[in-house]
Every structure is written in C-alpha cells, then in structure tokens.
Symmetry: C2
Subunit: 239 residues, 2 copies
C-alpha cells in the first residue's frame, strides 16, 4: 500500500469523488434525522431539533470568522464573509437582511433573551446538550484547516432531504414563517458549495493535504452525527 | 497604593480619560510620522511609508476576523464586520465597494501580485520589514482581548494629523486618487471609534479588566510605534 506521503495527488475529479463519498456518513442518514424528514416526528421532537439546531446556528458566524482570520487571500475572504452576513444579518447602503439567527429566533419565545448569546428557551434544559458540546468542540483551528473546508455543503446541496423542505406537507402545525430560514438556505447553500468546493480543490493539491482535507470533512460530519445521537437519546426515535 | 484586584472600577468618564491619556504615545508623535505630516519627507520616504502601511493594512481584515471569532454578541459582530468589509471590499445587492486594500494597491505596480497576499513592490526589500514584524506580532488573541478593543481609534479620530490630510498641500506630486483611501478613512474611523469605545466602556467593567484594556491598548500603540522606529532607521528622519 502506498503511503500518503509519497503517493501522487488525486486529480480534481478523483479528489471531489473522495469528498463526496464521505456523504455516506452525512447526518441526513441518521435515524433521528430520517424520522424528522419523513413526517414521523412529534411536535416535541421537532421543537427539540429546532432548539438544538439553533445552538448550532449561533456558532456559525464564530466558526466562519475563525476561517476568515486564517485566510490570507482577499478574494476568498470576500466570498466567505457572506456566510457571516447571512447568519448575523446586515444593513449596508439600502440593502438589509435580518439574518438567519433572527429567523431562528422566530421559533423561540421571541423575547430579548432569544436574540443574544442564548437560544430560545428549549423544551427543557436537556435540549441544550448538543449546543454545549458543539461549543467545546468548536476548535476553530481544526475547522479552519488553512482557511478552507466546508465541502460537506457539497453533499448537502444535492440531497433534497438535507433541508427540511417536506416539512410543510408533514407538519401542518408549523407556522410557514418559521420555515423561511430553510427556504433561504437552499440557494445560499448552493452558492456556499460552489465556493467551498472550488477553494478546497484549488488549495489541497498534494496527497497529504488532500488526506487532511478528508479528515477535516469527517470531523465536521462527526459533529453533526454526534448532535443527532444526543437528540435521539434525549427525544427518542419513533419507529 | 491600592492594588488593581481590590480597587473599585473606574466610572465611564474616568476610564475613557485613562484610555485617552495613552494618546501621548500614539504614533503620530513619532519623529518619522511628524516629518511625514509636516511636509518634510522626500518621495522615497513617502513611498517607504506607503509600502509599510500597506502591509499593515492587509493584516487588518485578518485581525478583525479574529476579533469577530471571539465575540459572542451578534449586535457587536454586526457593527464590527464593517471593518472587514471596508478593507476587503464587497458587492452586496446593488451596493459595491472596492475596499481599502484595493485603494492601497493603487500605490503599487497595479499588477496582479499587488492584489494578493503580497503588497506593492516596495522601494526596496527592506521596506517590508515592519510588515513581517507585524505579522509575527499579530497574536490575534491578545489583540482580540475578549472581542473588544480598538479604542486607539478614539485617539486618532480627534487628531487632524492622524490621517495624512495635509499631504495634498505638502506633496503635490502625489496623484489625488492615491489619497482616496485616507479621505474615506476619516468618516469611517469616526464610526469605528464610536463602536470601539462604546464596546470597551460597556464590557470592561471591573478594575482588573479596565487595567487589562489599557494594556491591550498599549500593545497596539507599541506596534505602531515600533513600525515607525523601523521606518526611521530604514528611510531616515530629515531635520
């Protein structure tokens, strides 16, 4: 077996294939997520997921700022900063966007505490468990990995189950406004994919770097999977 | 003498006064900077300053992203991100800004290498010395200091010598376009001051924290002073 140190770099097509192969362990295949996206979840399970997803979401700008601060390429930064703007919102010139975190707040109590560092009051305090774990795992340097990788978006964008787009059919009790965030994510995720994948394919050009990129991707996938494990234990998985 | 640990916190007015007192060691008082801003510099000295200033400038978005990634308050992030947008430029909706780094590139060769990680070709390789030093000193965590301080802007904005606004009178040979960056900085620096100072006064509320804020401010002032020392040694100071 050839070791990664001496092996030739994969070409772009091979490397992209290797990245996409990791999609097998993407969290959409987790039993808890499958349950959510096939209409089998109770309101309590949905609310539990939302509360935990919200904790994940409020850490996104922190993560992306860590990526930016490790990136010396202005062109890449100009693209990447959009991820922070998408979540924190902005008002520049006449253009305004309340941002994804604000949209997430719509699911909470709507009170001031939902807009700060803490999420909406979760169904019970146990709902915070994944969020806390995520913050401990945050490890910006590992995630930043030279200022590049979120190629898992590439996996997500191709899979219609990734965003809860079938929720309106399955869960009529959810206020349509509450789903705006996810609707907006579809086109934004596609844009993020294009940039994330291009940067990854451009920058990881030796075999050891490409192997490292796969490890970083796996780390991200493991976080999402672990969040689903925690939610499955807390809220249960219906048959 | 009361130790910082047990002393009462300064009130906002006292604390702001202490911060502003540090202005005595602001780099505008450095002999090299005084020379520049009183019309006594040669074109070589001006170009040397520009090349070094440019290296400082291209590190600004990296520094501000490090601050963002240490900041859990979305409202503060929404204000702070403007500093990155100012330097990297952006295109959002119909609103466009080439950014301060692009403006800095106007001073260089204008070739593609000026737009990447490296600055314009300096008058000679020695011109890079401060830039390299700054990158080593970058120490984002120290600068971030809990996600807050750039209160030295408060000092800068009040002093008309801070931005080279008298350069058009002193140095007729400089293309007016080359000074746009500095013209734009005046109003932007004022906005940054307001946010930086408010955040600092709001967050550093115990005496030990306030003492720490003064140390962080001094660190920033020392970097700027050290840059001017390096330039004075390299390019000389005219009487």
């Amino acid at each position: 077996m050839t070791s990664a140190k001496t092996a030739a770099a994969w070409d772009r097509v091979e490397f992209e294939t290797k990245l996409r192969e990791r999609g097998r362990s993407y969290h959409i295949h987790h039993p808890f997520n499958v349950m959510l996206n096939t209409g089998k979840a109770t309101p309590e399970q949905i609310r539990g997921w939302v509360a935990n997803r919200f904790y994940y979401q409020i850490a996104i700008p922190i993560k992306d700022a860590a990526v930016l601060s490790n990136c010396n390429d202005r062109e890449v930064r100009r693209g990447w900063i959009q991820r922070i703007l998408d979540h924190d919102g902005f008002e520049i010139g006449g253009v305004k966007d309340p941002g994804g975190i604000e949209a997430g707040c719509a699911w909470g109590s709507g009170g001031p505490h939902a807009r700060g560092d803490r999420g909406p009051a979760p169904p019970d305090p146990g709902g915070e468990v994944c969020g806390r774990r995520l913050r401990q795992l945050r490890a910006p340097r590992a995630l930043a990995g030279g200022g590049v990788l979120v190629a898992d978006r590439a996996l997500r964008a191709r899979d219609p189950q990734a965003a809860p787009r079938h929720w309106p059919e399955h869960y009529g009790w959810i206020e349509p406004d509450g789903l705006n965030y996810f609707r907006n994510r579809v086109s934004r995720a596609r844009r993020d994919v294009e940039q994330g994948l291009a940067v990854t394919l451009d920058h990881f050009t030796t075999r050891p770097m490409q192997e490292r990129a796969l490890e970083i991707l796996q780390f991200k996938l493991d976080i999402l999977w672990a969040m689903n494990d925690a939610m499955a234990l807390k809220y249960g998985v219906n048959p």
